[in-house]
Symmetry: C2
Subunit: 549 residues, 2 copies
Amino acid sequence: MKFNKIIIAGLVAVLGLTISANAKSVKLSKSQMKKATQVYFDRCAGCHGMLRKGALGPNLEPKKTKAMGTATLKYIINNGTPGGMPGWGKSGELTKAETSLMAKYVQIKAPMPPEKSIVDMKKSHKVLIPVAKRPKSPQNKNWKDNFAVILRDIGKIAIVDGKTKKVLSVVKSGFATHITRTSASGRYMYVIGRDGKASMIDMWMKKPANVAEIRPCNDARAIDTSKHKDYLDKYAVVGCYWPPSIVTLDAETLSPIKIVSTASYTIDKGVFTREARAAAIIASHHKPEWVINVKESGQVWLYDYSDIKNPKITMVEAERFLHDGGWDLSKRYFLTAANAKNIISVIDTKKGKLVANIPSQGKKPHPGRGVNIDSKKYGPIWGTGHIGSNDIVFIGTDPEDHAKNAWKVVKKVSLPGKGGGNLFIKGHPNSPYIFIDRPVNPDRKLQTQIYVMDKESLEIVKTIKIPAKYLPVYKGKKGKKIISRGPVHFEFNADGSEVWTSIWGNKMVNTPILVYDSKTLKLKHVIDDKRLVTPTGKFNVTNTMTDTY
Amino acid sequence: MKFNKIIIAGLVAVLGLTISANAKSVKLSKSQMKKATQVYFDRCAGCHGMLRKGALGPNLEPKKTKAMGTATLKYIINNGTPGGMPGWGKSGELTKAETSLMAKYVQIKAPMPPEKSIVDMKKSHKVLIPVAKRPKSPQNKNWKDNFAVILRDIGKIAIVDGKTKKVLSVVKSGFATHITRTSASGRYMYVIGRDGKASMIDMWMKKPANVAEIRPCNDARAIDTSKHKDYLDKYAVVGCYWPPSIVTLDAETLSPIKIVSTASYTIDKGVFTREARAAAIIASHHKPEWVINVKESGQVWLYDYSDIKNPKITMVEAERFLHDGGWDLSKRYFLTAANAKNIISVIDTKKGKLVANIPSQGKKPHPGRGVNIDSKKYGPIWGTGHIGSNDIVFIGTDPEDHAKNAWKVVKKVSLPGKGGGNLFIKGHPNSPYIFIDRPVNPDRKLQTQIYVMDKESLEIVKTIKIPAKYLPVYKGKKGKKIISRGPVHFEFNADGSEVWTSIWGNKMVNTPILVYDSKTLKLKHVIDDKRLVTPTGKFNVTNTMTDTY
C-alpha cells in the first residue's frame, strides 16, 4: 500500500501535479485529470475556488474531502445540498461517470494554475479594427438605446436595436460572459468572458463588431471603464479570478498597462489568501476610482487610476465573501453583498470608509447592481433580492435627510410561494414598478413568472406568467424532454418606457427576448431570432453608461 | 533510473517537499534537507530569495542549477564570484561538507516556506512589562543621547550611555538584527531580527529593557514607527521578507493590527512575484506615511497609515531590486538604491511620484540612509558609497533653487586603492566631515581604515588607521588565526561632536567601539566591554528620532 502511494505521488509530481499522501489515495489517469480539471473549472471553481479554499461554497481541500469519502461526495455532487449546491447529476449537467470522476478528483490536491505576465497577455492581444479605421461618428441614429445581450452558452453577444428590436449583429466573446459594461461615452461595449477573455464592441458601427480583444486572465467576472470626467473612455479594467488580480487596459485598444495582485490577508484572522479574487468592479462617477470587491479576503479596494502606472489603493475592510453590488441613488455609497454571511456592506466612496455591515434579513443576497427608489415614505432606498430565500429587502441610503432609515432594512417583502431563487431585480426612474425574476426557484410555476413590485407601496402588485409558447421545449441528455427555464434578468430601454427580459434556455434552442411596457405591463414585442441562443444579461447603452437601476 | 526518480519524488512529497524530475536527480536525506534549509536561510536567502527567483544574487531555480552541475556550484560556493558572491568555503564560514551539501541542495526545488496569520503571530506576542508598570518619566538624564548597539552574531542589543560611555544594559533581540529605529518621541527603541522577531526597548528605564516582543515574520529586515505629529508613538511597522508582507503593530505593546501582502507584479515584464519582499521602511515626518521598498517587483509603496485598518497605498514604479535608502535634507525626497541595476531611484513623497532613476556611476550602491550635505558649491546634495566599486557619489536634491544640479551625480570621488567594499557613510550637520567605512574590501590595510571626507571640498582629507591593539585576534575553524575585520558603520552623538564606529569581530571575541572627535578626528574613547560581541549598527536616540544623517 505504501509503495503504491509513493509511486502515485511520484507519477503525479512528474505530471506537474501533486497528490496528498493518504493511505486511501485516489488514482486518476492523466486524461481523467485533464477532463476533471476542466469540469472543475466550468462548474465548481466559481464557488469553491481554483485552490478549493472555499468562498460561497465550502472548502474542498483533500483534508476535508478525504474524510468525507467518495460515496458521500458522489451523493452530494449528484443531488446537491439545501445550502445551495446544485445537483449536477440530477439536473443532467453531469453524467454518472462525470459525477463519479469529480467525487474522486476533489480528493486530490488542487493543481496550481498558471500565472500570467504582461508579456503573456500581449500574445493574446489583437486590435481587430485600428482606431483610425473605426467610424468618426455614430452610424446608427439610435445607438444610445441599443442593447448588448449576452448569449451565454454560445460565447457570443447580440447587439439589438432598442427601437426596431432587430438583431443588428452577433459577435464572438469569451466563454459564458458574465457582464458587459460601456465606456463613459457609451461608444464601446466591453465584454468579459468567464475564461478571462476581454473584448470590445464599437457601438457606433452600423453592424457593431469587435474592434479589439485580449485575454488578461484565465478566469474572470468583472470589467468596467474609467467614468470620471477627466478620464472618459481612457481606461478599461478587468477583475480577474485567476490569476487573482486587477488588470488595467487602454480603453481604445485593450493594450495591457498594469497588473495589481489581489492576493491579500483576510479581514478576520489575517490569513494569507493567494486566491483572493477580484469579483465586482464598479466605476465611480465622482472620482477617478474603481470600487473593487476582493472576494475571499473581504476587502473593498478603492483603486485610484489617475496615475495609471502608479495606482493608489485604499483597502477597506468590509466582510467575507464579497460578491456583487451597486450604487445608491447619489452614487456616493456602494452597497455590496457578502452573500455567504447574509450581509450588505456599505462603502462611503467619498470618505473611503466602511459605513455599515447590514444583516440582509434573507439568505444569500444577490443584488446584481440592486435597485434604487426615491421613496416618498422612506426617502432614497436601495433594494436587493436573495437566492436562498423569498425576501426582497430595502435599505435606507440617505443619512443626511433620512437619518433614521439610513443603513438598515426599512422594508422586507416576501415573494409568494416557497423556494427563493431570485437572481435579478431592476428599476428605472421613469418606471412605476420594479421587476423581479426567480429563475432558480425549483417550482416550475414560480420559476416562469415575473414579479412586479410597486415602487411606492413596495408590494408585489402583479405576477406576469410567461405564456408556454415562449418557453421552448428541447431534448436533454438521454432524450429527456426539458422546458426552458423562466425569464432571467431585466433591462430598461433608455427612457424607461420598456422593460426587457429573456428566456433562459439551453444551447440546443433559441429563446426569445420579451419586451413589456413598463407602465401598462403589456407584452409589446417578442424578439424571436434564431441567433438568440441562451440570452441572459441585457445591457442598454444609456442605462449602463449612467448606472441607472 | 526512472524508478529511482519516482521513488525520490514520492518520498520528498511525503516529507512535504518536492523535487524536480531530472535524469540526474540529487538525493538528500531528511536530516540533510533540514540542515541545508537552515544554511540556505542563514547565508543565501537574503540575496537569492527563499523561492530562489533571484534578487541581488542570481536565480537559483533547479532548471538553472541542474544545468550548472554539482562541481561548478561547489566551486562557486567555495570561492565566490567577482560579481559579489562571498566565498563561503574560502572564508571558513562553511565547511567542505557544508559546501558540498549546498551545491546539491540548490538543485532541488525550493520548499514553500510557511505562511503566518494574525492568529499565528499572537502566539509569539508577549508584553513583558505592561504599559502601567513602565516609568512615568525618563530615569536617565541623558537618555536622548544614548545609543543602541547591535551585537549582531549573539542576538543582543547593548544600550550604551552617550555621555559616560558605559554599557547600561544588554538585552536579547532576534537573530542577526538588521536595524533599530526609535519611536517619534525617542522613548522606545524598536529592533527587528533577521529571524523576523520584533522587540522594543524602553529607553526611559534606568537599565533599558525589552518591554514587548512578537514574531510577525520568519525573515525580516525593516522596522519603523509612525512619525507624523498626529500619530506620535502610535504604530510600529515591520517589513517582512517572508512571508512577504507589511505588518503594523501597536507601538506600545507590539500587538498586531494588520497584514498587507507585498506579493506583486514586476514593473518591467509584469510577472507575478510571490516573493516580493518588503525591504527598507522609512517613516515620513510630513505625512502619516511609510515609504516601503518592495524589492523584487521594483515598487516603492507609500503606505498611508492614518486609517490603520484600512490603509491607502500608492504603488510607485521605481526600479528592481530595491534595497535601502534615506531622506534628502528636506525629507521630501526618498533616495533609494536598486543595487543590482546601479540605479538610485528618487521618490517625491509630496507628489507620490518617481522623480528620476539616476545611474549611480558605481557598482552596487549601498547607501544605508546615505548622507546629506548643504554644500556651498552644489546646494543640498545626498551621497552614497558602493560595495562593488570605490565610488562615493553625490546627487543634487534641490530642484527649486539648484535646478541644474538636481537628480544627477554632481560629484564622484574615488576611495584610494582598489576593491570597493564600502558599506556605510555617515554625516551630521555639526560635523565638518563625513565618515566612510570599507569593511568588505579584501585588502587588509584598506579594510581597517576610516576614510574622512571634507564636506565642502568633497575630497578624502584623511585616512584613520585603526591601531592593531583594537583589532583582536581569534581562532577560526581548524585553529586558523583570524584578525577582526575593520571598523563598520558610524553614528554621531546628538550634538554631532563625536562619531562612533565599532570593530566588526567574530562571536568568539569582544571588539571595541571607538569614539572620535568629529572635528579634531582624535580618538577620544575606547568602549571596551566583554559584552560587546560583534557590535555592528549603532543608533543614537536623537539622530534616529530625527533622521539626521
